[in-house]
């Protein structure tokens, strides 16, 4: 690695580390702050009204006991600014709160960051990371495959189905009856293909919750496969990154070396499975290679640039996964836990989860920076 790229790499790593340390410090400070200011679940112990409720001989739901309490209180506190009636009202409000306030109802046993909770969150975090990595790999492969297919279609001079349909109708005005009949058949096929493509696009652009709720209404914590599929195909993730790769392929194919390579007898035809064309199996492979074809070089060069977009891909993917877990209300998952804790105003737990997600994004950034730097070193032929 030359000195300049080494310095750039060091600077990037330093910046990532610094931001992780700074954000972690700020968040931990806030976590401690929120933890110490947490409203006590056992508020009755601190409240002066709790003393009255601890009197076992008195039932505040019984009118006789209430009247008795009122009279005794007024008699024993003649100079008090608080009357027996108003004290009874306060006790009623307090008792009502104990039944209605969510602080007393749910999640009470788990309030705050305890060791038990940390283990639980740790498990969810690991689960989230595994899902993130799986969806990342699948969408990375899917985006490249779709991008390549689209590029090859472009090279085959295939336009959109609607454009082809319009062209056919224009041509049919000057053709004779028999060819009109065959054009009609072709048009039906085109319309059919357009409908299938339309449905496919509807799925790819649908937010995850639209697809999910059109299939079922309840989702269990074990729906991993379903969530992974949703993570890949929904929220526009796959289509947007396939489009990005396609754009890179198109830009690369316009460069001068492509024509030079063609002149030097590298294959340049794009017909499927032809001797000098592109093999379908090669497109579907995990490691795509097109030896002897000019597209091999277009693909490699576009792929290097595509790697650099992984940071954005990662951030968008995490957004998608969070949307899926939150919108589907899947219990036992990290994002649902975050939403639940926002609801219960346990902001220290929320901040801890956000910190975890932030660290994951930063780790991805570092990994992408290191990876792209290594690839650049291999191709840019730099030396010390």
């Amino acid at each position: 690695m030359d000195r300049k790229s080494l310095t750039t790499m060091k600077r990037k790593l330093l910046e990532h580390t610094f931001s992780v340390v700074l954000v972690a410090a700020a968040m931990l400070a806030l976590i401690v702050q929120f933890g110490s200011n947490r409203p006590s679940l056992h508020a009755d112990e601190a409240s002066p009204l709790a003393d009255y409720l601890s009197w076992r001989f008195l039932d505040f739901g019984d009118p006789l006991d209430r009247a008795l309490f009122n009279e005794v209180y007024d008699a024993t506190h003649p100079g008090s600014s608080v009357s027996g009636d108003s004290l009874l009202q306060a006790i009623d409000a307090y008792r009502r709160e104990q039944f209605t306030n969510e602080l007393y109802k749910t999640g009470g046993e788990e309030r705050g960051i305890t060791e038990q909770k940390l283990w639980k969150l740790g498990g969810m975090y690991v689960q989230f990371i595994i899902m993130y990595v799986v969806v990342m790999m699948l969408s990375y492969y899917g985006a490249q495959t779709l991008g390549v297919v689209r590029f090859i279609r472009l090279k085959q001079h295939r336009s959109s189905h609607i454009a082809e349909l319009v062209d056919q109708f224009s041509a049919s005005s000057s053709s004779h009856d028999r060819s009109r009949l065959s054009l009609f058949g072709k048009s039906i096929v085109l319309v059919g293909e357009a409908i299938v493509k339309g449905l496919f696009l509807l799925i790819l652009f649908s937010p995850a919750y639209v697809i999910a709720y059109s299939i079922r209404t309840e989702f269990s914590s074990g729906s991993y496969a379903f969530m992974i599929v949703l993570g890949v195909v929904s929220n526009g993730l796959l289509i947007n990154y396939a489009n990005r790769f396609y754009t890179l392929l198109v830009a690369e194919s316009r460069k001068g070396y492509v024509e030079t390579a063609t002149v030097k007898n590298l294959h340049a035809a794009y017909a499927w499975d032809a001797a000098d064309g592109i093999r379908r199996s090669a497109v579907l492979r995990l490691r795509k290679q097109f030896f002897g074809h000019v597209f091999h070089h277009i693909y490699i060069n576009a792929h290097i640039q595509f790697q650099r977009t992984l940071k954005e891909h990662a951030s968008f993917l995490i957004t998608g996964l969070i949307i899926i877990e939150m919108a589907l209300n899947i219990q036992g998952h990290l994002s649902y836990e975050m939403l639940k804790n926002i609801l219960y105003r346990q902001y220290d737990v929320v901040l801890l989860i956000i910190l975890g997600i932030f660290v994951l994004v930063k780790l991805t950034d570092i990994a992408v920076d290191v990876w792209t730097e290594r690839v650049a070193r291999r191709y840019e032929n730099v030396s010390l």
């Binding site: 910046e15 610094f18 931001s19 954000v23 969510e102 749910t106 959109s160 609607i162 454009a163 319009v166 062209d167 224009s170 696009l201 509807l202 652009f205 649908s206 937010p207 919750y209 639209v210 709720y213 059109s214 299939i215 079922r216 209404t217 929220n235 526009g236 289509i239 947007n240 489009n243 754009t247 951030s315 995490i318 957004t319 969070i322 949307i323 939150m326 919108a327 209300n329 649902y336 939403l339 639940k340 926002i342 609801l343 956000i354 997600i357 932030f358 994004v361 930063k362 950034d365």
Partner: protein, 291 residues
């Protein structure tokens, strides 16, 4: 053949962005007309309000993030030119920090603050709440425009004409703002603004759906202004879109989707259709302007 008969093909080939814009507007009008005919009045009023609010926030975010992106872009450029390294690194660090927070998490935090503000009676009117929503989303999307502004300035800085203009005594601020950004980067900026609009619709609908589903099941929080995401999260809308899957197994119920389940189906369709159209407008725009 007359010029008029060429129009569809011209639109299809040369101005596909315009075509997709027409498809989007036409699609919304058709859905609106259908809903007007077959959807009950209260649901129609909710849907209209949700569409208008969503489009308002989308437009607001585009305007605000364009302004913020432009300002932050030229500020960073000016700081790097003035060799004010401390301020430059502080700002860059802050922006990178915003970049590292997944957009949905950032927006969710903004919504938590919005809930607190509504509870404290600080934000009362629907308009102010929508503006808050838009402002929060802007914070997490404006960097795309900021990056573009810097990229464009950097690109032109390497060309001779900037030095030539500086030699002619033209102020650098004028060169950057007028000649580079306004005159020579309008198409790029417009393309980015289209993308920002799409991202905003996606984020807004998603966050409203999440908030409506997740934050209101156990507790009656403040009611947010109705948007497409919020409307889709309503129980009757969810039941409507659930009917879509049953239509695949029971073909006879397909018709019911367009008459009995209109609220949910229309809402979901408008969201997805808008995202598809914006994607296509953006792609065709890039192609037409060779960006």
């Amino acid at each position: 053949m007359t010029n008029q008969s060429h129009l569809p093909r011209t639109l299809l080939r040369a101005r596909r962005d315009l075509l997709w814009l027409l498809v989007w507007i036409g699609g919304l009008i058709i859905v609106g007309a259908w809903d007007f005919a077959f959807l009950n009045q209260p649901a129609l009023a909710r849907l209209s309000r949700a569409v208008l609010n969503t489009l308002f926030v989308g437009t607001f975010v585009v305007c605000v993030s364009c302004l913020m992106g432009w300002l932050s872009g030229i500020t960073l450029h000016a700081l790097s030119e003035a060799r004010n390294t401390f301020l430059y690194y502080v700002l860059t660090f802050l922006f990178n920090l915003i970049r590292s927070i997944p957009q949905i998490v950032g927006v969710l935090i903004g919504y938590v603050v919005l809930t607190l503000l509504i509870r404290a009676d600080v934000l009362r009117s629907e308009l102010s709440q929508l503006i808050w929503m838009g402002s929060v989303i802007s914070v997490f999307v404006f960097l795309e425009i900021s990056d573009l502004v810097r990229e464009r300035i950097q690109h032109f800085k390497n060309l001779d004409f900037v030095d030539a203009m500086l030699c002619c005594g033209i102020k650098e601020s004028r060169i950057v703002n007028v000649d580079i950004l306004f005159k020579n980067s309008r198409a790029h900026l417009l393309h980015k603004m289209i993308s920002v609009f799409g991202i905003t619709i996606f984020l807004l609908c998603s966050i409203d759906f999440i908030v409506s589903v997740g934050l209101s099941t156990d507790v009656s929080l403040s009611n947010f202004p109705m948007t497409l995401g919020g409307l889709l999260a309503k129980l009757d809308s969810k039941q409507d879109i659930l009917a879509i899957s049953s239509a695949f197994t029971d073909f006879g119920s397909i018709g019911a989707l367009f008459f009995e389940h209109l609220q949910g189906v229309s809402t979901a369709f408008i969201i997805v259709f808008t995202l598809i159209c914006i994607y296509n407008i953006s792609n065709a725009f890039v192609k037409r302007h060779r960006l």
